[in-house]
């Protein structure tokens, strides 16, 4: 396919004119896909049951809590992927910049002022990129890369490359807060998933998002203003990223540009492992929750079975590659 179409979510199969490649008949394909999924879950469950110390509250809760920070960004990324714009390269930098805005706002305006500033900043930043991509159909890869470079440069200018620290104890309620037995970040992640899924399933914007993502031209012919849907998808991504930014600033008691480094790749991994289609139009927030869960269960099991951290990175990469290849087998084309 021509790269101009990369972001515009036309229904043309990728590498358009090339032979369509190996395809199974749809029914066999779905069968293969579901058996692979079931097998993966069974294998993971078997490992989880046989790994001593994995299925304990002391091991599971911290694992789920750590997952929440990337998880929120991943739910945001889901909106972008669903809209047919693959991924945003700037969500990690947006997260970092938002931690700075939150801490700076907290110092001058108080915590609630900081919260408002952080959410407004992140949504506006991501939404502006969405507008360029939706309204002018500018290429989503280039626009978000440009944003990545601009955010990095401007943040260095404003902070002088140093971190910003909140007043002692100012953010402790976010760091140590619990709702019942559930730590606040995990609760926030679950709420984000629920809210995201509600928006996708039960609002007009959600329905439009699936239509625009699977075929923008057809959606526009049906009277949907595609650019509004795409812009809103990026605003939603900014909202989810801000949730993660606020929690991370509290967790590490700082706002600096290293906070979200590499988060865009971790987030898109969770989205794709969850089974959201990279060409857009098919997927959900709940799938992303499962994707994040699978990744962190794999990581947790590897650690407890004596594998080192580096093995995790490699295995996650292989899993993502495998999931992308599997999509052609069971995907609706």
């Amino acid at each position: 396919m021509s790269a101009r179409d990369l972001g515009s979510a036309t229904a043309a199969p990728p590498s358009g004119a090339a032979p369509l490649g190996f395809r199974l008949p749809p029914r066999t394909g779905r069968l293969v896909l579901w058996s692979v999924r079931t097998m993966a879950v069974v294998v993971l469950a078997a490992f989880a049951l046989t790994t001593p110390g994995f299925l304990t509250a002391g091991s599971l809760l911290p694992m789920l809590n750590t997952m929440s920070f990337v998880g929120c960004v991943a739910v945001g990324m889901t909106f972008i992927t669903l809209s047919g714009n693959i991924m945003s390269f700037s969500l990690g930098a947006t997260l970092s910049a938002t931690t700075i805005v939150f801490v700076a706002g907290g110092l001058s305006l108080g915590v609630w002022g900081g919260l408002a500033a952080a959410f407004a900043f992140s949504m506006a930043l991501s939404g502006a990129q969405g507008w360029l991509i939706g309204y002018f159909r500018a290429n989503p890869i280039i626009v978000t890369m440009a944003a990545l470079a601009l955010i990095t440069g401007l943040a260095t200018y404003f902070t002088g490359g140093k971190g910003l620290y909140p007043r002692a104890g100012q953010l402790d309620f976010l760091k140590e807060g619990r709702i019942g037995p559930v730590p606040l970040p995990l609760a926030a992640f679950l709420v984000t998933v629920a809210l995201g899924q509600f928006i996708l399933s039960f609002t007009r914007f959600g329905r439009h998002l699936y239509m625009v993502g699977s075929n923008r031209r057809a959606a526009e012919a049906a009277g949907i203003e595609g650019w509004r849907t795409v812009s809103l998808a990026y605003v939603a991504a900014g909202l989810c990223t801000a949730i993660s930014a606020v929690l991370m600033a509290a967790r590490y008691s700082s706002g600096d540009m290293s906070q979200g480094a590499g988060y865009e790749y971790q987030a898109i991994s969770a989205v794709l492992v969850g089974g959201t289609a990279i060409q857009g139009g098919e997927g959900s927030a709940v799938r992303t929750l499962f994707g994040a869960l699978v990744i962190s269960v794999v990581e947790g099991l590897l650690v407890l079975n004596g594998f080192n951290t580096q093995m995790q990175y490699f295995l996650i990469g292989v899993i993502v590659l495998g999931v992308i290849m599997l999509q052609t087998v069971g995907g609706r084309r």
């Binding site: 396919m1 021509s2 790269a3 101009r4 990369l6 199969p13 990728p14 590498s15 358009g16 004119a17 090339a18 032979p19 490649g21 190996f22 395809r23 693959i86 390269f89 360029l132 309204y135 002018f136 159909r137 500018a138 290429n139 890869i141 280039i142 626009v143 890369m145 440009a146 944003a147 990545l148 470079a149 601009l150 990095t152 440069g153 401007l154 260095t156 200018y157 490359g161 590499g262 790749y265 991994s269 794709l272 990279i278 060409q279 080192n308 951290t309 580096q310 093995m311 990175y313 490699f314 295995l315 996650i316 990469g317 292989v318 993502v320 590659l321 495998g322 999931v323 992308i324 290849m325």
Partner: protein
């Protein structure tokens, strides 16, 4: 004479060089004749940066010319450095060969997957990026590893003839070969044909599948060369590289006249684009401007190109100006 000049300016390959001349002139003026910019030191620093970004931009540019996009260069750059240092500690030449082999294999595998399953390069190379960088974590054991052969390390950074070094001579040689192959052989025409209209190219007898695999193999090898020589010159390799090279390389290719929609661009143009970025970065540092400025400039350039290339720009601009005109008229009344 004038017509010839206009033809040259209209040609995107030449536009990069015109931009280069303008930037050199501006920086020379900004230097106020203090000799900080126009000297052999700056030229050397420009060429050393060219040696890092150049081959990666050429790699990415070639995949963009066939209408694809190789995200995995971000992972390949780091992995090649690790392989080159690990193998090269006993025999540096063998280290470079090993890195090139890894690059070739990675490109061949990814290209074959794309052809076999008819998948888009974005998905496959995103999986590739994660897998390759995971692999470099595994190989290095998640630490920075040193390169003991200081003679080779010194040689990489040793200027001779004023501003030539082994490292930048290798990069320049690669560009010369690519330019000759591109302009004088059938391969060059086949690559452009694959990118501009793949179906037509296939009907006309272009071996499209082989071109795709070949270009991705070249992409892997070019990136591997840059990565290997870079870590030799740093006397160290570490797995943390991910996408640091992706943004400047994309920017360079685009400034050099490569279009994301495929079928446009030449190695000479890409070289011009890389030089623009390198001169800008070294020049700004030489005249004492803070280093973050080049991020902002890179981001600005990328934004501009993304907007100028946006398929809906003209339509939307008209709509916007009409709407604004109506508002202005309403206000006057």
């Amino acid at each position: 004479m004038r017509a010839a000049l206009e033809r040259r300016l209209g040609n995107p390959t030449w536009r990069a060089f015109v931009l280069l001349v303008v930037i050199v002139a501006l920086l020379a003026v900004a230097d106020q004749g203090r000799g900080r910019f126009l000297n052999a030191n700056t030229a050397f620093s420009v060429l050393q940066q060219f040696a890092t970004i150049g081959p990666v931009a050429l790699a990415l540019g070639l995949t963009m010319i066939i209408g694809e996009y190789d995200i995995s260069v971000g992972g390949m750059l780091g992995l090649a450095g690790c392989v080159a240092v690990l193998v090269g500690n006993s025999d540096p030449l063998l280290g470079v060969v090993a890195a090139l082999a890894v690059g070739m294999a990675s490109g061949a595998i990814q290209g074959a997957i794309m052809n076999w399953l008819g998948l888009s390069s974005l998905g496959v190379t995103l999986g590739g990026l994660l897998t390759l960088s995971g692999l470099s974590y595994v190989l290095t054991g998640n630490t920075s590893i040193g390169f003991d052969n200081m003679d080779i390390a010194m040689l990489m950074n040793q200027p001779f003839l004023g501003f030539v070094s082994v490292r930048n001579a290798a990069a320049i040689a690669v560009f010369v070969v690519a330019a000759v192959v591109f302009a004088r052989t059938r391969i060059g025409r086949d690559v452009v044909a694959t990118g501009s209209e793949r179906r037509a190219a296939m009907v006309a007898g272009v071996p499209v599948a082989r071109i795709v695999v070949g270009v991705f193999m070249m992409s892997g090898m070019l990136t591997a060369l840059a990565g290997a020589l870079l870590s030799f010159s740093l006397a160290a390799a570490s797995p943390i590289a991910l996408a640091d090279a992706l943004v400047p390389a994309t920017a360079a290719a685009i400034i050099g006249g490569v279009s994301l929609s495929g079928g446009k661009g030449t190695p000479v143009g890409i070289a011009g684009g890389v030089l623009v970025l390198c001169v800008l970065r070294s020049g700004l540092i030489a005249i004492g401007v803070a280093p973050y400025v080049h991020y902002v400039v890179t981001g600005g350039v990328l934004f501009t190109v993304a907007l100028l290339d946006a398929p809906d720009l003209r339509r939307r601009r008209l709509a916007l100006s009409r709407a604004l005109g109506r508002d202005a008229a309403a206000m006057v009344e």
